[in-house]
Symmetry: C2
Amino acid sequence: MSADPTSSPFLAACRGERPTRRPVWFQRQAGRSLPEYRAIRGTGSILHAVRDPALAAEITLQPIRRYDTDAAILYSDIMVPIAAVGFGVDIKTGIGPVAEKPFRSRADLDRVRPLEPDHDLPYVAETVRLLVRELSVPLIGFAGAPFTVASYLIEGGPSRTYTKTKALMLGDPELFRELLSRLAQHAVASLRAQIAAGASVVQVFDSWAGALHPAHYERYVLPHTRAVFAGVADLGVPRIHFGVTTGELLALMATAGVEVVGVDWRVPLDAARARVPTHISLQGNLDPAVILAGWPQVQVEATDILRRNGAHHGHIFNLGHGVLPESNPDVLARLAEFVHAQPVGSNVEDQA
Amino acid sequence: MSADPTSSPFLAACRGERPTRRPVWFQRQAGRSLPEYRAIRGTGSILHAVRDPALAAEITLQPIRRYDTDAAILYSDIMVPIAAVGFGVDIKTGIGPVAEKPFRSRADLDRVRPLEPDHDLPYVAETVRLLVRELSVPLIGFAGAPFTVASYLIEGGPSRTYTKTKALMLGDPELFRELLSRLAQHAVASLRAQIAAGASVVQVFDSWAGALHPAHYERYVLPHTRAVFAGVADLGVPRIHFGVTTGELLALMATAGVEVVGVDWRVPLDAARARVPTHISLQGNLDPAVILAGWPQVQVEATDILRRNGAHHGHIFNLGHGVLPESNPDVLARLAEFVHAQPVGSNVEDQA
């Protein structure tokens, strides 16, 4: 069944309302850190796996059986829509999204036609429908933000410098704008299809926007992200926006038309809070590497995050980025338990 | 000859004194972006090239002939000391520093013996001596900060997540402390040798410290960086400290015992200024990717940086990270000219 907003701590915290317990989930909670995932996943591309609704639903459910998390997140990938319209991308294990023929000129726009979800990726909505029948927690649908998807298309793969992306952004802003505008349509169409099928929340990943000067972000990127969130505003589901190394962008991200801003671990949660309006909820922000240090250290760090949050209702506990493949699931299970055990709306400073 | 502090705009700005013109240099100004570098460099490891003082001096001088920069920076690498004591590292073109046998346990400390500059890397001081005879601008000596050098040893190469480094830092803080303490000795010994040979300024690169939560940085990393700067304090040369994605760390970095903090492009210069005491000078902070967009865009962005600096004397114009190999040297030459043409100690807001 679909989650009831009045009883979901996650949905309550998204809206800044008092949750019945402190909500927690883990970015990339499904995936390589779970032995049961490695057992059923096989070796093919994730782009193939997501076309099998039964498999994608099962992978989505695996962490829910292990961890008492307050939300599930659809097993999918931010490159699914652009792959579905035939741009020519794949996701290589251990590397990430790669485009054999990167985006270089106006002619490449021909490979970025509008997304028609019913026709191009019916399997996504089908997976969502399977899931909401099973789940008793909200399902998070998601999409890549136009900038981050564009960066893979332009670079041809993951990058440390985003040189080609920035060169196009600054050197041919009109073409860059057209590309991001088309990618915004993909995100809106994909998110609307997920919500129609039963997703109760959406998260938009602008994972690499933190590579930009804030003024560049505001001028060349934020308008397209705003278009994505505006495009689902009428559907009334909470909207989360997340990226890494976004310390200088948090205030701008909070203006994108969202209820929740995700924070990576570089910015202490109280510092992040000071950069966004009070009505914005925050999600985060434990360094995923801390999980590898084992329980006592995880408890210390989780306590510090809750202390920095103080008594604000609008906090969803999470990692500051995705679960690392080397993580011990038992530590994550214990972390969820620990967060749930802390009283809501109180300062946990002296409790750990 | 060695530079005279009273006439060097760069040294004046390092000390927050009024420079005779706005100083500028470019991180990684020597290297792959210059055709004359590619012509003489050959294909071997940089660790071999730096052992040839005539070659290393020539490469250091190449950008000085092209650009009217206010400082030269020694052609070397942050891994030179750890390579010289025989840890077993190489620098692979297009990849970066790699260690075939990474640092994993206490036994690996045997490969991190103390550095004796006269014995282990006499070629570095020899290169410095050759250079200060030729140069009419200050020569910057440099070293890697303990954390960043350690990250290469522990990861075995460049990383996006620094998982192993953080796992060791949090999981075995005593071993981590011992490793960083030894690497601090290397940095101090190497910097003292460079200064004794004629370097007039030192820069310490903690390139990847920005991957850390500020509290982790302060607890596990900063004490070792402080030891490095304290170890050269008696020599009286200005000290610069630089890293990327350090927006949340700038205030802490400013307490490391330095005159200058380097800022990457993610933090607008006026925002950076607000995070450090007034007596600290700043270096930066143009996004290196902007150079690829060509002159008109470079002028716009450089003007914005100077405007954000206002009339503060303690500013050294630079890129926010190293020159990208794809950069056009003519654009950098024009940028140095442009910065020099702006009046000192005035607000350039309406002049561009």
